[in-house]
């Protein structure tokens, strides 16, 4: 099916990555921060000094014990860093360069759904799945009503998955077919209108959809909302990053090799030469950035500029992200800034001269551009949210902690990333995305 998204906003900002791919070598140390996995309670199964192989278990989730989190490298556990209340902050693995694989005796001959499920759980590939609502790893025994794969990205300067998939199309098709066999539910693959007809699965369980329009038309939350909306917290859809699907396909195509590389985009204005990169998974960010000229006054963000989170250079980017953004963090205080005609102002409002100049490429910083105020409902949030949701009322119900109202207004269909543009356009500088996040956490604990 074809979908035309009307509401939203495409931001044309500097720092677009060029598509020639820089190869990042195998790092001497790899690292993994369990906090990137939402809502899990990690329990370590290794200690400092242990040797580990690719696919070897590092920790598991106490609430979902058969779901394993594995190492993507072979070597030794060099260090495990703990924060307050012994929260695991970083697991550091000294790589040995042998890329040794953990011995598994999977029988690839018989492939029934439960066998595939077992393989995915055992190899840590189960963690590639996430579910809506709550954007967390699904329970190891559950099944979704549908699986969504988005092969498009509309966030500014973000990674275009098609570039990776074209190179790995065989693995991608295989991965989709394996998942289809395991789940036996509809798999919805959503691509941008330009990429129509790039893949052929020959599988009646796979539905292909095309989305057209401004950001967030590429967000999986929008796709789920349009194709098979989530009704309540037990109405669960899964989604998965297409590169992860290709990894699963590669595993089955190669009889058990775990694919531990990934294509990413390194973008943003904090770089001289933003471009695509091929990196090993769990590579610390400073290893990646050593290939680039980075501005001193920049902040590292794992993910795109609208929905990522800041990380330090000794950590690796989230396993779910394929964009690394460097944002400029220096902001000057302009004299009578509110009087600025704004020839170059980045805005969706029509109160700056820039809004009537076509095809401007904007320079961007992390400036908040104002101070926090109470909600003044100008109606700007509604202009950039292509969902059947009333953001002003939903946000108020979250702030009031009114569970019933939140449910009726559709909190289960929401994810912070879909509301990023609401935060962007907000004049009162409200953290709309974070409020949605808080609402989801609250409702998960209280309903």
């Amino acid at each position: 099916m074809k979908f035309k998204i009307k509401k939203g906003l495409d931001l044309n900002i500097k720092g677009f990555p060029v598509s020639d791919i820089k190869e990042v070598d195998l790092p001497s140390e790899a690292c993994l921060d369990p906090r990137i996995f939402k809502g899990i309670k990690p329990k370590l199964t290794v200690k400092v000094g242990d040797s580990i192989e690719i696919g070897g278990q590092l920790f598991f989730d106490k609430n979902n014990p058969s779901c394993k989190f594995v190492s993507q490298h072979s070597g030794k556990i060099k260090d495990i860093k703990f924060g307050k209340r012994r929260v695991i902050e970083n697991i550091i693995i000294a790589t040995d360069g042998f890329n040794k694989l953990k011995d598994n005796d999977f029988n690839f001959g018989t492939r029934n759904p439960s066998k595939i499920r077992e393989i995915l759980l055992e190899t840590g590939m189960w963690t590639y799945f996430r579910q809506r609502p709550f954007s967390k790893i699904p329970d190891s025994t559950s099944s979704p009503k549908a699986l969504f794969i988005s092969t498009m990205s509309t966030a500014p300067n973000s990674f275009d998955p098609i570039i990776a998939l074209e190179e790995r199309s065989k693995d991608f098709v295989k991965g989709v077919n394996v998942l289809s066999k395991m789940l036996d539910v509809k798999i919805h693959i959503c691509s941008s209108i330009e990429d129509e007809g790039k893949f052929n699965f020959g599988n009646s369980n796979v539905d292909l959809h095309q989305f057209d329009g401004p950001h967030p038309s590429g967000n999986v939350g929008v796709h789920i909302h349009k194709i098979d909306p989530i009704k309540d917290k037990n109405d669960i859809a899964w989604y998965i990053n297409p590169q992860d699907v290709a990894d699963i396909g590669s595993f089955f195509n190669s009889n058990g090799m775990l694919y531990n590389k990934r294509y990413i985009a390194v973008s943003g204005e904090g770089l001289d030469n933003p471009s695509y990169s091929a990196v090993y998974k769990d590579t610390p960010v400073h290893n990646i950035l050593s290939l680039f000229k980075v501005d001193e006054k920049s902040t590292i963000v794992s993910g795109d500029i609208l929905s990522g989170f800041t990380i330090e250079s000794g950590f690796s980017m989230s396993r779910y992200h394929d964009t690394l953004t460097l944002c400029l963090n220096e902001v000057e205080r302009k004299f009578l800034g509110w009087l600025d005609p704004g020839f170059k102002a980045l805005t969706s409002s029509r109160t700056f001269v820039s809004s009537i100049i076509p095809n401007l490429e904007f320079s961007s910083t992390m400036a908040l551009n104002g101070s926090r105020r109470s909600i003044i409902p100008f109606g700007f949030w509604e202009e950039v949210l292509p969902l059947e949701i009333l953001p002003t009322f939903l946000i108020k119900s979250i702030l009031a902690k009114d569970v019933e109202e939140m449910e009726e207004l559709g909190i289960y269909e929401c994810d912070p990333e879909d509301f990023a543009l609401c935060s962007f356009v907000c004049q009162s500088k409200l953290e709309v995305s974070s409020i949605i996040e808080e609402g989801l956490v609250f409702i998960e604990d209280n309903s």
Binding site: R350, A367, V425, Q427
Partner: protein
């Protein structure tokens, strides 16, 4: 500007958290962020924010009010001359400078009083409540004198400003939490507390001679054959034509008389997207439909109430209709918060305004009460819109 920045940076150490005057932080923050844009950076995603903030939006609304203010000042001078016995045709050819000076002499004190009194209220609440001083007051302070007659005693302006700011806004929690439009509440305070001063024929009493507003002229006249004959200044005999009223050469509150100037401000605000076209369209539609209805009612019942015969384009240019529609009804906090709700809310204002004007013999002007009434009902409108939205959402799962 580095010099100024240095002074402010030094002063900041006295007001920042943990220092001596920490409590008075809002008093430092307001001028500081007014003079220099903030350098705060985003801590959470998205790491990119629109350049617009409340300061700029509010400043743009103030800009949109400038044409009304300028014409208002001129008209105060003009009406003053007319009420002192000079015929309209002579008064209008008097030197601009003379008229403006008279106008400024009565308008400037109103502004000084409003901003001083309102600013103090705002500052006290900010310090006590510990929140930053809100830009919303700039617009409220700008509006209050514009909806008052120029001849209003200054102490009444002060009292109504306190009422508008404190009762209208601050006791609810400040800008964003208010139920009623503070400027309108200030006006209604004068209207009900000192009724003799704000409407009727004492509006322009500079000397003994007074002039009734066109609305009052029509509504208090039961003897003329048509509303055209009634549109006469009873004391000077000057006839109010439609174009006079459109341009604004009529007695009335300072900012409301000129529909032309209001429309200039309106197009600016609509182009910049700071007022919602749905509300404005709703008010117009409600007003036009109700006027037609009243016209039909009037001609079928042969009523002596001339207001019933007034066509919509007269309603548009008389009294505070246009001003209220653009600058009061569209206030985002007190209007409905859903797009469907904004249509209904707007129409309600249009309907109520004309109903009060035509049918209620006590008040010739209905715009203020119409808007306050709709303000009170806006949450109810939203309640039903949200309810039907929830139903519509549930239908998607069927």
């Amino acid at each position: 500007m580095n010099f100024l920045r240095n002074i402010l940076d030094k002063a900041e150490s006295y007001f920042s958290k943990g220092s001596k005057y920490e409590k008075f932080w809002p008093l430092f923050d307001a001028p500081d962020t007014f003079l220099f844009s903030t350098n705060k950076i985003t801590k959470k995603a998205p790491f990119l924010r629109d350049q617009i903030d409340l300061k700029r939006s509010m400043f743009f609304v103030v800009l949109a009010l400038i044409p009304c203010l300028c014409f208002g000042v001129y008209n105060v001078g003009l009406q003053n001359k007319i009420s002192s016995g000079i015929p309209f045709s002579d008064a209008i050819s008097l030197p601009l400078y003379d008229l403006l000076m008279i106008g400024l002499l009565s308008v400037v004190p109103l502004y000084i009083v409003t901003f001083t009194v309102g600013g103090i209220c705002e500052a006290i609440f900010s310090v006590v409540r510990g929140h930053e001083i809100n830009e919303g007051f700039l617009v409220t302070g700008m509006l209050i004198p514009l909806v008052m007659p120029a001849s209003l005693p200054l102490w009444m302006v002060a009292a109504s400003t306190v009422f508008g700011v404190v009762i209208g806004k601050e006791i609810f929690g400040g800008t964003g939490y208010n139920v009623f439009n503070p400027a309108l509440l200030a006006r209604s305070f004068v209207f009900f507390a000192y009724p003799g001063q704000i409407s009727g024929d004492r509006v322009w009493t500079f000397d003994a001679v007074s002039g009734a507003t066109p609305l009052l002229a029509v509504s208090s006249n039961n003897s003329s054959d048509s509303y055209m004959d009634a549109l006469v200044n009873s004391s000077t005999g000057h006839i109010y034509t439609w174009s006079d009223m459109f341009i604004g050469f009529i007695p009335g509150s300072i900012g409301e008389t000129s529909t032309l100037m209001v429309l200039i401000g309106a197009s600016f605000l609509l182009l910049t997207g700071l007022i919602n076209f749905r509300t404005v369209s709703g008010v117009m539609i409600g007003m036009i439909l109700t006027s037609y209805l009243m016209n039909i009612l009037g001609s079928s019942s042969n009523s002596s109430n001339l207001m019933l015969f007034l066509p919509w384009y007269y309603h548009l240019v008389m009294g505070g209709f246009a001003f209220g529609m653009i600058f009061m009804a569209t206030e985002p906090v007190t209007s409905a918060h859903t797009n469907t709700g904004r249509w209904i809310y707007g129409m309600l204002i249009g309907v109520m305004c004309i109903l009060i004007r035509c049918i209620n013999p006590a008040y010739p002007e209905g715009m203020m009460l119409g808007i306050l009434f709709a303000n009170a009902l806006a949450p109810l409108i939203d309640y039903y819109v949200v309810k039907s939205h929830k139903k519509k959402r549930m239908k998607r799962f069927a």
